[in-house]
Symmetry: C2
């Protein structure tokens, strides 16, 4: 743990910050081991360059004694005033998630303190997984592969999206995961053209395209993968071509990942292939996102992210093409950046296959 705080302090120094309020509960867990779901209540960890870090805790939170200074308050105490007192003058870094209901009153209480976004100091550290995190995340993806394989065996003509999603969720538990890491997506035919469609009572018909996007939680870390398959012969004559293209875009992007490559260049590798084939307008999202304690962590693989890839980073590669009213195809793996390339954490075959009909 302390090693993690040291990394954050060193990032703070590089950003010229002597103090930082961490509010993302996952970041606080990452740095201190203390896990709380604060809902609408204030929960914050103040990191100071002099090492005198302070925990701000509502007395409704059940927390073992920490090694940090603890400031406890009740629902009716002036908790913002308590934070204001602990700040030095100058600049204060603020975590990305901190809500306006805390931030604005704190600004009003300490007009002498300049508040800037400081989350990168923690998030850049969280983005690079250590050995423990890597072994947990590999296992989470292993479970995800197993369940995806089972799901593809399970789906049959006549089933509803919900039925399949329920099956997947149940299998996660059976395979040792604690649950799904986001709402399992199972989309048939035209529903697949909405990347975030939620499973409903749509029934699978012969010829339908299918998108399955699923992930599980294992020991506090997430997995995430997508496969696109079809029920029999695809009824849409363009489907096979689009499926091939998306798979190639996925493989192309994965093939160039190694330390030093820019994230925007990885996005471009997949996007250019799709754009050149005339489908650029139908690939309407970034190529990938970072992942760890939650399905989406800070950081993405997009055309505007100039940051370079470093060993230990884990992110998704998920090109997609969505033809409104017709179908969608998305193929997604998680990749772990290694010293000289990357390891793809998902192994379920990506080529077009048909489920039972």
């Amino acid at each position: 743990m302390n090693n993690r705080i040291e990394r954050v302090l060193s990032n703070m120094k590089a950003h010229g910050l002597s103090q930082l309020i961490v509010s993302d509960p996952k970041s606080i867990k990452y740095l201190t081991g203390i896990e709380i779901e604060p809902y609408e209540r204030l929960f914050a960890f103040l990191i100071k360059e002099d090492g005198k870090h302070v925990f701000f805790l509502n007395n409704l939170f059940t927390v073992p004694k920490t090694i940090f200074e603890e400031v406890w308050f009740s629902d009716t105490d002036d908790s913002i005033g308590m934070i204001a007192e602990k700040l030095s003058g100058g600049t204060l870094g603020i975590d990305k998630t901190w809500a306006a209901r805390f931030l604005i009153p704190l600004m009003e209480r300490r007009p002498d303190v300049k508040m800037v976004l400081g989350s990168d100091c923690v998030d850049d550290s969280r983005a690079i997984k250590d050995d423990t995190e890597i072994s947990i995340m590999k296992k989470a993806s292993e479970i995800n592969d197993t369940v995806m394989h089972k799901a593809l065996d399970f789906i049959k003509e006549g089933m509803t999206e919900k039925q399949v999603a329920d099956f997947i969720d149940a299998q996660f538990i059976k395979e040792g995961a604690t649950g799904s890491s986001f709402t399992t997506i199972v989309s048939f035919a035209g529903n697949g053209a909405d990347p975030h469609h939620e499973p409903d009572d749509t029934v699978l018909k012969k010829g339908d395209a299918i998108v399955i996007d699923q992930g599980c939680m294992y020991e506090g870390y997430a997995s995430d993968m997508t496969r696109s398959v079809v029920c029999g012969e695809p009824s849409d004559p363009e489907y096979k071509k689009v499926h091939d293209l998306v798979r190639q875009a996925n493989e192309k992007a994965e093939s160039i990942i190694k330390p030093g490559v820019k994230l925007c260049d990885i996005d471009a590798a997949a996007r250019d292939l799709i754009t050149d084939a005339g489908y650029g307008v139908y690939f309407n999202h970034r190529l990938g996102h970072f992942i760890g304690q939650t399905d989406h962590e800070q950081g993405d693989v997009s055309s505007v992210n100039q940051n370079t890839v470093k060993p230990g980073m884990i992110f998704s590669i998920e090109p997609g093409i969505y033809l409104p009213g017709r179908f969608g195809v998305r193929i997604e793996d998680l990749v772990l950046v290694t010293e000289n390339g990357c390891e793809v954490l998902n192994h379920e075959d990506k080529h077009l296959k048909s489920v039972e009909y």
Copy 2:
């Protein structure tokens, strides 16, 4: 819907605000009917006094055409710049939930605009339920009563907390709810002394105190209630006295609710009774919270809330006494403020009873 926006505009006028950014997805749904779960992405609705309201939407969101101006952006667009452009000078109200990752960059882009907390303009309107909302919330509490009754019949010595919680969650679905409105709390013996204990494998033994805090979602609205019971004769000699006291505190508070009464006075009615009996230090949370589209909505029944009660408000009354290592007792109802008093929405008996052993 438009009536709701009118109410917000009138609140804005009273607060001296000509523009307000609404970011809480439930508030946006309340005002526009548009429901999105944006996760980490920007989703905002700008209300302007001249009626030229603007929606800010990521092109990954699936939204039917609205009657408002729509500004669409992709993950890589400068969405904060797009908001900055639409603002007038002067003061801008900001919703309580807006995250620092949006707010701080917007402040940096528009240093000429003073940003203040403005959520009350929407939340004060949301706090007063209209007829449609009231009838949905009554039904949600009816289901909650039914399921609580079933749960008390179901619990037996030897069961685990998780078993009981799973039963409750399954019954919600069976009774027509869409799910639970928060993690169902079932706490045995000493676990009950943590108000937010989550169900685990603790086994119910004869003499144990039991706390059940549960709620369901029905047509987008939440219910919430708590009952405290025992398995056989309570093993702790102080239990009966504490149970009586908490029930009396609950009933006392409910008896004084009517339009015009201050929320802090309702809190005091329950708290004084508990404090006078020497248990004040063991009642470590506010008396209640507002509720609606989520289990906890803005607004509470606490010692610092000087606001007065108005017809149409729905909130919880939930005094509790928590004796560390021994047991907890909490008794919670939802109440609806009427023209000349209040209607208690939960009907399951509050007196001490024993489950099967």
